[in-house]
């Protein structure tokens, strides 16, 4: 069987998946206070649809928006709304949150009976996915209902399920593939139907042989879906890179996967879509890998809105002195300062790093070693973006294609001068977006 990968750039960070690989998914109880942000996705934030003092059911909608690119938010527990206020989230920003005190009954909101998705029209399925508040669970948190509604002039022929999980430390997708292989195949068929595709692919990196074997044995001689073995290389699980690996098609700069007839969904997202369509659930739980310097690392099924501190307590607390706590994977995740921030729909992991992982070397000037250029999967020259961004010359950073960077961090990972290249790109993007916004305003 051939092994697929993207052709340009890439790095091989240490994987560190052993502590949680193959560990079963364990459900944890709700925390005494649940904090549900009203904006957990790319797109317009939600308005609260409940008021302080209201009693809510688990799974009940508590926030919604009229905007096309948005996703409603649901209560993860039954309980009482204690406050609707600004709280800090993992990015460090203050976001309006619904704070809920769970009760002892944990009542579910009324659910629809099991449905046969094959009897539903694509538009009905899209509407269900929208109402269920499903967003990409791999980290980007883009509303799934938007993704499965590609423009009419861009037919989709291939659905790719992203089981690469190329971020070090994380194993939540692996755990899901091992726990629910039949459901994942079912979810793939559902997605194929919704977008009218012909083929489905489940891309898995070779470091998850158990998942590959299990799914491949179930898909032997399947006419529609196959497992694609992917090389262990970061960022194999990045959308454009995975499409390149699986289909050998390149999404043009600034375009979406539909441009080349592809739809990519992460394992967790695909399963959440199936659950919503077949069982009428809303997205209020997800699997989170809690690992690194904690006493009992594992894959936890966590209610969205649970403070990170509760997850760490449930894993036996810190093992040793924590230096950094990261939400998401260590390559693209966010270091948090306040352990009270809640798990969101897009939170794939809580990785605790000890001080040994901290940067021992100071940031130096760019020595032009060219390693960032070699490893950039997008064909960029991060060295140039970094130098210009450092001087506030964001127009030049734009000329060096800062907007085409998806912030995988491969450049900063290899940089011997330890330059904060991802940060430089983020600042450039912010300034460039701001400039374009001002230009549009000046025109109108």
């Amino acid at each position: 069987m051939s092994v697929k990968t993207f052709t340009r750039g890439g790095v091989h960070p240490p994987e560190h998946k052993e502590p949680t690989a193959g560990s079963p998914i364990r459900e944890i109880p709700p925390a005494p206070e649940m904090v549900v942000p009203l904006s957990q996705h790319t797109g317009a934030p939600c308005e609260a649809t409940v008021a302080v003092g209201d009693r809510v059911m688990a799974g009940q909608k508590i926030g919604d928006s009229e905007a096309f690119i948005s996703a409603p938010v649901h209560s993860p527990v039954s309980g009482t709304v204690k406050a609707i206020e600004m709280r800090r989230v993992f990015t460090g920003a203050m976001v309006r949150c619904v704070v809920i005190a769970p009760d002892e009954h944990q009542e579910q909101a009324a659910q629809t009976e099991r449905r046969d998705w094959r009897a539903l029209a694509p538009d009905e399925i899209r509407s269900i996915v929208r109402q269920a508040g499903i967003v990409g669970l791999g980290g980007a948190a883009f509303p799934a209902s938007v993704k499965i509604a590609p423009p009419k002039d861009k037919p989709i022929d291939s659905v790719i399920i992203n089981g690469c999980e190329c971020e070090p430390f994380l194993t939540c997708d692996q755990a899901l593939m091992l726990l629910r292989p039949d459901d994942l195949i079912e979810a793939t068929r559902l997605l194929i139907k919704v977008v009218g595709a012909r083929r489905g692919y489940i891309g898995i990196e070779l470091n998850k042989p158990d998942a590959i074997e299990l799914l491949a044995s179930k898909l032997k001689e399947d006419p529609e879906i196959c497992v694609v073995r992917c090389e262990v290389k970061y960022p194999e699980g990045a959308e454009k890179q995975l499409i390149k690996a699986v289909l050998d098609r390149e999404v043009p700069p600034g375009k979406l996967p539909s441009e080349v007839g592809a739809l990519v969904h992460n394992v967790g997202t695909a399963l959440a879509i199936l659950d919503a369509v077949a069982q009428g659930t809303t997205l209020t739980r997800r699997v989170v890998t809690v690992t690194g310097a904690v006493a009992r690392p594992g894959n936890l099924e966590v209610r969205v809105g649970t403070p990170v501190s509760h997850l760490i307590e449930q894993c036996g607390g810190f093992a040793g002195q924590p230096g950094k706590v990261i939400l998401g994977g260590p390559m693209t995740g966010w270091a948090i300062e306040d352990l009270g921030v809640p798990v969101q729909k897009g939170t794939s992991g809580v990785v605790v790093l000890t001080r040994e992982y901290m940067d021992a070397h100071p940031t130096l000037a760019c020595v032009r070693c060219g390693k960032c250029v070699e490893v950039c999967p997008m064909g960029l020259m991060p060295n140039m973006i970094g130098i210009y961004a450092e001087r506030g010359r964001y127009d030049d950073a734009e000329k060096w294609n800062a907007m085409d960077c998806f912030e995988c961090g491969a450049c900063a990972y290899v940089c011997p001068s330890k330059r904060p290249l991802v940060d430089c790109v983020r600042k450039s993007k912010q300034a460039i977006n701001e400039k374009h916004r001002r230009q549009r305003e000046a025109k109108s």
Binding site: K324, A335, D359
Partner: protein, 315 residues
């Protein structure tokens, strides 16, 4: 749970252990074989040259950086490597004060005054090797002054012969070392030209450790070989002598002063190769290879711009 002093920095939170200091250490390691061969042939002269160049380079950095309001950076070993490379560029008969002036110019002017490591336009070691030659009249008083005082430093009576390239100039191989001599060990020319094998070993080590790309040395060596073959000028001798390998593996590949793109590096190597052949065909200054690299150094940024990689998904 607040107040644990958690560190908050932008991603990625994992970084490769390799830092600039590790790379410099590896360059130094790669220079050990050729340096040992030079010590063997030239004995104390080579050792003194090495100590003078490395010492002067390090001292210059210690003195100059605070003057420019910069923090010390001795830890990254950049000055050590510059001094070391400079020592290998000199012949064992070079006057000691030339070596010291070279080291001061290399670190003080070519590196620190240009803004420090990363901002220099010229390879510091080659700058230190070549500029004292160009500016020789400025320094012509130093020799007589020193020899008139009691402060003397004999650097004579070394086992050193005419450089192989000088012998080739007459287009006559009589008396010139054989390729096998040049490949293994031959005491002619500069400290860093005594053994092609030792240089190749060092170069391969740096490629293995992924500090340098094969493109620059390959472009340079192949160009010199092919052009001299066409011109009928003993290609094997040309490649194995005159500091070509030293420059190909250790000078032209200097991170800061070479292009960063793959194609750019190939072009850079080829261009240096062409210049080397021009220098050697139309006169053979002992600094021909050095001049060739220095001439190309300032074009590195421009070559980068001309050879920008294709964007992912770009037609």
């Amino acid at each position: 749970m607040i107040g644990r002093n958690l560190v908050v920095t932008p991603p990625p939170h994992l970084k490769q252990r390799d830092a600039v200091a590790h790379a410099m250490r590896d360059v130094a390691l790669a220079l050990v074989p050729v340096t040992l061969v030079a010590f063997y042939f030239f004995r104390l002269n080579a050792v003194i040259m090495w100590v003078l160049c490395v010492g002067a380079a390090v001292l210059t950095e210690i003195v100059v950086r605070p003057m420019l309001g910069q923090k010390p950076q001795i830890g990254n070993m950049s000055a050590v490597v510059t001094g070391w490379l400079l020592a290998l560029c000199f012949s064992p008969t070079t006057a000691w004060w030339t070596a010291v002036i070279g080291a001061i110019l290399a670190v003080g002017v070519a590196k620190e005054l240009m803004g420090g490591l990363g901002w220099n336009w010229f390879n510091p070691a080659l700058f230190g090797r070549v500029v004292p030659v160009v500016l020789a009249p400025l320094f012509s008083w130093i020799g007589p002054v020193l020899s008139s005082t009691r402060f003397r430093f004999a650097m004579a009576d070394v086992m050193s012969q005419a450089t192989p390239l000088a012998m080739l100039k007459g287009r006559d191989l009589a008396g010139a070392p054989t390729p096998v001599d040049l490949l293994t060990a031959y005491p002619g020319g500069a400290l860093g030209e005594v053994s092609a094998l030792a240089l190749i070993a060092g170069g391969l080590y740096l490629m293995l450790r992924k500090h340098i790309s094969w493109r620059i040395p390959a472009g340079m060596i192949a160009t010199v070989f092919v052009l001299t073959l066409v011109l009928g000028r003993y290609p094997v001798h040309q490649v194995l002598s005159g500091g070509l390998l030293l420059a190909a593996f250790f000078m032209a590949t200097d991170w800061v002063t070479a292009p960063v793109t793959g194609n750019g590096r190939l072009i850079f190597g080829i261009a240096i190769g062409v210049l080397v052949v021009l220098f050697r065909v139309f006169g053979a200054p002992p600094e021909g290879v050095g001049f060739s690299v220095l001439l190309m150094n300032p074009t590195a940024h421009w070559i980068d711009r001309m050879t920008r990689p294709k964007l992912f998904g770009q037609k």
